[in-house]
Symmetry: D2
Subunit: 344 residues, 4 copies
Amino acid sequence: MSDFAQIPMQFIGPLKVSGLVIEGDYEVPLATYETPLWPSVNRGARVSMNCAGGIQCTVVDERMTRSILLEAPDATAAVLALEKIKSNFPALQKTVESTSRFAKLINLNSQIAGNLLFLRFEFTTGDAAGHNMCTQAAEALIEQLLEQNPHLEYGSISGNYCSDKKATAVNGILGRGKYVVAELTIPGKICRRYLKTTPEKIVQLNIRKNLIGTMLAGGLRSANAHFANMLLGFYLATGQDAANIVEGSQGLTMAEERDGNLYFSVTLPNLIVGTVGNGKGLDFVLENMQRMGLDVAREPGENSRRLACLCAATVLCGELSLLAAQTNPGELMKAHRKLERKPA
Amino acid sequence: MSDFAQIPMQFIGPLKVSGLVIEGDYEVPLATYETPLWPSVNRGARVSMNCAGGIQCTVVDERMTRSILLEAPDATAAVLALEKIKSNFPALQKTVESTSRFAKLINLNSQIAGNLLFLRFEFTTGDAAGHNMCTQAAEALIEQLLEQNPHLEYGSISGNYCSDKKATAVNGILGRGKYVVAELTIPGKICRRYLKTTPEKIVQLNIRKNLIGTMLAGGLRSANAHFANMLLGFYLATGQDAANIVEGSQGLTMAEERDGNLYFSVTLPNLIVGTVGNGKGLDFVLENMQRMGLDVAREPGENSRRLACLCAATVLCGELSLLAAQTNPGELMKAHRKLERKPA
Amino acid sequence: MSDFAQIPMQFIGPLKVSGLVIEGDYEVPLATYETPLWPSVNRGARVSMNCAGGIQCTVVDERMTRSILLEAPDATAAVLALEKIKSNFPALQKTVESTSRFAKLINLNSQIAGNLLFLRFEFTTGDAAGHNMCTQAAEALIEQLLEQNPHLEYGSISGNYCSDKKATAVNGILGRGKYVVAELTIPGKICRRYLKTTPEKIVQLNIRKNLIGTMLAGGLRSANAHFANMLLGFYLATGQDAANIVEGSQGLTMAEERDGNLYFSVTLPNLIVGTVGNGKGLDFVLENMQRMGLDVAREPGENSRRLACLCAATVLCGELSLLAAQTNPGELMKAHRKLERKPA
Amino acid sequence: MSDFAQIPMQFIGPLKVSGLVIEGDYEVPLATYETPLWPSVNRGARVSMNCAGGIQCTVVDERMTRSILLEAPDATAAVLALEKIKSNFPALQKTVESTSRFAKLINLNSQIAGNLLFLRFEFTTGDAAGHNMCTQAAEALIEQLLEQNPHLEYGSISGNYCSDKKATAVNGILGRGKYVVAELTIPGKICRRYLKTTPEKIVQLNIRKNLIGTMLAGGLRSANAHFANMLLGFYLATGQDAANIVEGSQGLTMAEERDGNLYFSVTLPNLIVGTVGNGKGLDFVLENMQRMGLDVAREPGENSRRLACLCAATVLCGELSLLAAQTNPGELMKAHRKLERKPA
């Protein structure tokens, strides 16, 4: 990854992942041309190391999706076909299992628009992000559905109700990728010492900037300062399809003052990451996975959930650090000037 | 850039850029872990070479933005301050000019929410994408504004009304980055020969998938199939801050049947790219810029406009190719299986 | 309803409602201060009378929703509580049944943001629109949940994830109200004779205006010209809570040229209407219901589904008429001038 | 207005309108089938009467819009046409003045999508909401533009970039209707006595419900609890085109604890109201206008600005009251049960 100059090893302090029971310290790589990101994320990590309990991550949900588009003679026929397809769900599940060892069909959503029928299939995909697994499964499903419903016609193998790499609401509402929450409780003293600010100031900035400011901008499920920056660096360093930062960026930062402490959390409903698949065999990716302890055989899906938690914790560190900086006039530019004007 | 395995040199056939008067053939690099993207974009490029006139690009607009957040005693005070600030615009322009040789303040937008005043500054930034130039300018502006309006208080150097790397509507409506349209008219015969489909099929798919499907998904200014894929590859290969594909992905694909031909265009209102700045000094980036003829001194801004046009043309090629594939059941997976199962 | 001057009796030509098997002609009332709406909708109705099969309506789905907000100690506790609540679903259903003869709990959606737990309950509510029934049920549910999960705290009886009378994506994606599609196939000849336009012109206008234009405007699931106008008139004339036109307006107009005919449909996923409840006992409402044949006792829910179909058919007539007018320069204003300048 | 049972005269306590200098007490009518709205809004009004300074309203902006759609040969031609049209702005202004005594063209926005040119005209319209005035002006403009630009073709008199009665972002960002902020500072004691709650509780609920909850719902510029309810009642009682509550509902509630007091404000960027035009000649409307002191001749526009302020203040009262109720488990339903079960 030398093209990105160097990979900083972020020390994401004590990390707990509920359910997964991974505790301990981790080194997290970030590949980026925007080098001020490194010290910024590192500052957040240092804070987390000084907070009892560290960053706690929770995997709320996981699934990967693909929508297909079929055409019915009219809306009534579309409704009847949908009912028939739903009642036949176990057969669809079998079809999916025949396409892959890991893909499992777990749910089916739909939309009917005029005489068009959009079906959105939800899968679990083991440790893979699952794009190709889902497309392959969808292809088998579409063949089966067209055979069993001769009055339906092929519309598209992807009907954009999935929705892949586009700014939409459906992914957050119905689920796509790992849904992870990372939380940290920061004593006021730590806040002042490491972040040069107070819980109150961060709380107020988060409300006015991330919630109100984004809302005024016509934002869609995007109440944060810069999730996309950390996601890009993390995705590139771990061999992910980084175009998925589009939906990944749609998440929420929460900050509340609680008994003099700062409760700070990031909610990332659409982390599309995996530990196997395209890009994962590259040397630097293998090395990075190893450093994060993800080169160990575990139950299918567990490594990718751990990866998603490390990603969410990294996002938390970067988000916390930038918000803290923006509570203080002038600090942001000072940091930029200092870091970028140096010879690379 | 060896980490992305190899850089394919895409042959983006005859390209015209209105106003800029660049015509000719270009080699365009795409850095990606998703290697099927290369032959797919190349197919679109081959089509464009066989169409009279080739791909025509138009730069509709360009500007870079940063919003600041100020607090007034109440809404009335916010309105009065806004009026005063607007009437003082030339002085603000001077302030900006003192921070950089290239940054020019060209416009000012605002929102008032309760007693909060969001100011969104619009700049031209020469050949740079302009993130840092704008932050530096905004810092100077905020200092000036706080001095001249003692009843206003600092809120944030960035109020998220900018809006950077988040899924919002403001960038498309008010402008952020290069606003580029790339157009191609494809004879029906070429459509059938190279794309194995018809103008009618592409038109219908574009309406049902990109327009209706995305709309049903709760999409925000995002009527396309996969702009983000081409943008990521192009941004990484040319040293851009690739996290800006978040807003870059918010664009429109148009397809209309006109006299038996296919009119096909992509509209990209938020291409945030530059030929100077962070990431542009890396060896492979310099080499890529050279291949695209962008290492030549030109009037400030012209190289980055040319770059934006090459980017838009690349997006067109990839979008056209995927849509064509999706009109034919089974073709997509065939392509994936063939390309990815090969040893890397 | 004399304050709205007069109620025009629209003749919505042959109407078929799939499943419900209501066929025949209906008189539909529209209460409005904007009197040009009447002849406009009437023109659409006249067209439908001249099309074989008339307007066909399909009820795709129906449900009413209320979301509550609970606070958990942290995200992990929220996930565990959610799992417990889901596994206890039948007990929740019983609780709901105890609050009303008609309310039935049919589904449960959720969102976790930091340590907050949003639960969105979905109900069927017989022939009522169901606002109060759902609030009452939600109140019983929240009491039960707080009792059974002592570590959860009350957040709000409504958490805005419902979502009531606000422009959101959740209602269209998860469902709220009656989801109705109304379809009409218009021979080219009828199109020219009654609408003074061609199928091709309407198709093109619908794509460019309703799909592309609204998309550029940063529209959210709103690809139509003026659903809100017909909805307001229909809701007021039938005693509905007309503030629900906010989500009602979020729907899709489709127009396709098929074998020289115009396929024209409106998809309305969020019609929140009922035949019983607040406003339904007013004299003019009773009279209007009677004219539409909805004063007859039927299986619970059937009258309100019929009402929703009549509403959707009315929307189709008004939408068709306006789009036709806008294909012809000058026609719109001519109509306005002629109608409004007359003494009231 | 007897169909809505009765019009309650809300006492919106001391009201100040900055700039307009209207101070004093006002009676505000609300027409609704949902009668619990009356005591709820009245409670908010009572609170405002007990706060020093009362409700302060600020008119931030006002304009009415209409967008047209033109077709150019290609995107370059669209850009050139746009430049020519902009440089010809004074002539367009003259054309508009010839269509009406009151309409003035004040600004022009645009979007280019492929070869399509959307022009969004912004007007002031005196005391009228201005729908018809704008359509008439747009018709004259489109004729002029087609004459002067023979290579442009007519697309539509309305291109949905206006945007009228649809859930979009453009109206809030570029402006449409009166943009009004209403603010109130409530001592903690008053909060507890009249609203049975504390500033802290309202602040927290507003963040979690109106900001976070709506964001999760995929909301678009809609951070409030129920603006639509008050808007509908006010619009119907004052003869407005109530379908405009669709964009009217897109606004923001802010609540902050300041020195033990509650700062509470509503920001309504899209109030489309007037004191002349359709619906304003009805007897009950004339009477309602008179009670609000709006039957007096004033400078053009001033009466409609006063009306907008009264509307915003009413929204504030209703919003405050509902939020206060929702901080207390059970209160909401108690109120509903008590009020609606009474014989009407």
